[in-house]
């Protein structure tokens, strides 16, 4: 697609955040929306994530935003044909007395904010998932949480946006943003062509936001945190919730295709995306303790995707200071996909109303780092 000389809204980044922003803008009747993606839609973190969606967090901001996001996920699956979201829950396996105590308090906190998590005693866990209990003492169950296949999300939203008249420019990297007089004036694509922007520029390029913004002297505290994920061949449906082994940060989720995705905490250096055998050993060894049947299934692929992490593990969303029409959304610290619906709608509000609707979104502004007002996990336990 040939890009015009000037556009109204330019969205940099064809991941879940950019796509949702375009969707909510187009639904309000905004015309001339253009998404610029350096590779293909979902090349970044969206296409590499496990697709979990939950509101069971430990900070007010996360809980409240994610409750809103889940209600959007429920409407989106009605509004967008092919988009899948199932509320099959999350289950945290707790293997020490200390973890059980902390999660009892966490559950009470989440309940106070309207998230219906509950502690399952050891003998209740098998009602939710066919598990070898092993050393599991208890579990935290969140029936409100669920999963949404990222691949189905990508193609169904892509199809919907085309219907709504949004222009999607794939393989069109944005290499610069030109600013003057307190505004973003144009973006440079393919390192050569300038496209003027009449309205807003949205920077929703995941880890790559940092490079784009540094070019115009805006520093954001963002770190790349590479995470492995593996997928198996299709297996008979047997695990409904996303199951987390809290002690080791390992998880397993089975999507509608039957494939199992298994992740685990396996820290690697920021710029190192070499696939590690140690990750496979850890992920498989831990998860097969509880689900031994997975040992007979085949590993199909392993890959690495980035978390874009901020110092307080909360996202950065809002207008860049002193640049009235330049909006950023990044730093989701591993939760960008699940938050995309509410963040997309809030970016729409910022663009059309001048400010987000929810007080929690206002707390996500970039200035908090300079002012030293980092967001805290407001619920501290144990």
């Amino acid at each position: 697609m040939v890009v015009k000389q000037s556009v109204e809204v330019a969205i940099i980044g064809g991941g879940s955040t950019g796509l949702m922003t375009a969707y909510y803008l187009a639904r309000e009747g905004v015309k001339d929306i253009h998404i610029f993606e350096g590779r293909y839609l979902g090349f970044g973190s969206t296409g590499r994530c496990a697709g979990g969606v939950r509101a069971s967090f430990a900070s007010d901001v996360h809980v409240k935003l994610m409750k809103e996001s889940i209600s959007r996920w429920l409407s989106l699956r009605e509004e967008i044909s092919g988009l899948e979201f199932v509320q099959d829950g999350y289950l945290w396996l707790l293997t020490t007395e200390e973890l059980v105590e902390v999660h009892k308090k966490l559950s009470a906190y989440q309940n106070s904010l309207g998230v219906p998590t509950r502690i399952l005693e050891r003998d209740e866990i098998r009602d939710v998932v066919p598990i070898e209990l092993n050393d599991v003492l208890a579990a935290l169950y969140d029936p409100m949480a669920g999963k949404a296949s990222p691949l189905k999300f990508l193609w169904s939203v892509r199809r919907k946006l085309r219907e709504l008249g949004v222009a999607i420019h794939e393989y069109t990297p944005v290499t610069n943003v030109r600013v003057s007089g307190g505004r973003a004036r144009s973006i440079t694509i393919n390192e050569s062509k300038d496209v003027e922007v009449g309205g807003h520029v949205v920077v929703a390029a995941g880890v790559w936001c940092k490079d784009i913004l540094e070019r115009i002297g805006v520093k954001i505290p963002l770190k790349k945190d590479p995470h492995h994920l593996l997928v198996t061949e299709k297996y008979v449906q047997f695990i409904k919730p996303l199951v987390i082994h809290k002690e080791t940060g390992s998880y397993i989720v089975q999507h509608e295709t039957g494939s199992l995705l298994i992740g685990t905490e396996f820290p690697v250096p920021e710029e190192d995306t070499t696939l590690r055998y140690g990750y496979l050993r850890k992920a498989v060894t831990i998860m097969s303790r509880y689900f031994p049947q997975i040992l007979s299934t085949n590993l199909l692929r392993v890959w690495i995707g980035y978390y874009e992490v901020t110092p307080d593990h909360h996202p950065i969303v809002g207008v860049i200071p002193h640049l009235e029409n330049l909006v950023v959304a990044t730093g989701f610290s591993g939760h960008g996909y699940m938050m995309a619906p509410i963040i997309g709608e809030e970016l729409k509000n910022i663009i059309l109303e001048g400010k987000p609707k929810l007080p929690e979104t206002r707390e996500l502004r970039l200035e908090r780092f300079e002012e030293g007002k980092l967001l805290k996990e407001s619920a501290v336990f144990g």
Partner: protein
């Protein structure tokens, strides 16, 4: 006669042509994620090669002389062949 383009995911040539036309798909990476072609046990060794052979018919453009990068051929991810998970279990 049904012509299967992707055996693992049971995707027909007709389905491939339909989504390319109706959804304006112009590259193999997007096609892969749309229909799961190349995501099954063969790891793309059959279906992606078939797509490359049929590139002009499917995408209306020549593939001759172009590199894998120019054609957006999905990267080969390990393992080369499916391996049972028990291979990785610590004993």
């Amino acid at each position: 006669m049904v012509k299967l383009l992707c055996i693992c995911e049971e995707i027909t040539l007709e389905e491939v042509q339909k989504v390319i036309k109706e959804e304006g798909i112009k590259d193999i990476e997007t096609l892969k994620r749309r229909l799961r072609i190349g995501m099954g046990p063969c790891g793309g060794r059959y279906c992606i090669n078939t797509i490359l052979r049929m590139y002009p018919q499917l995408f209306g453009d020549t593939a001759r002389g172009k590199s894998d990068t120019e054609l957006n051929v999905p990267p080969s991810r390990p393992p080369l062949k499916p391996i049972p998970l028990y291979t990785f279990k610590e004993r």
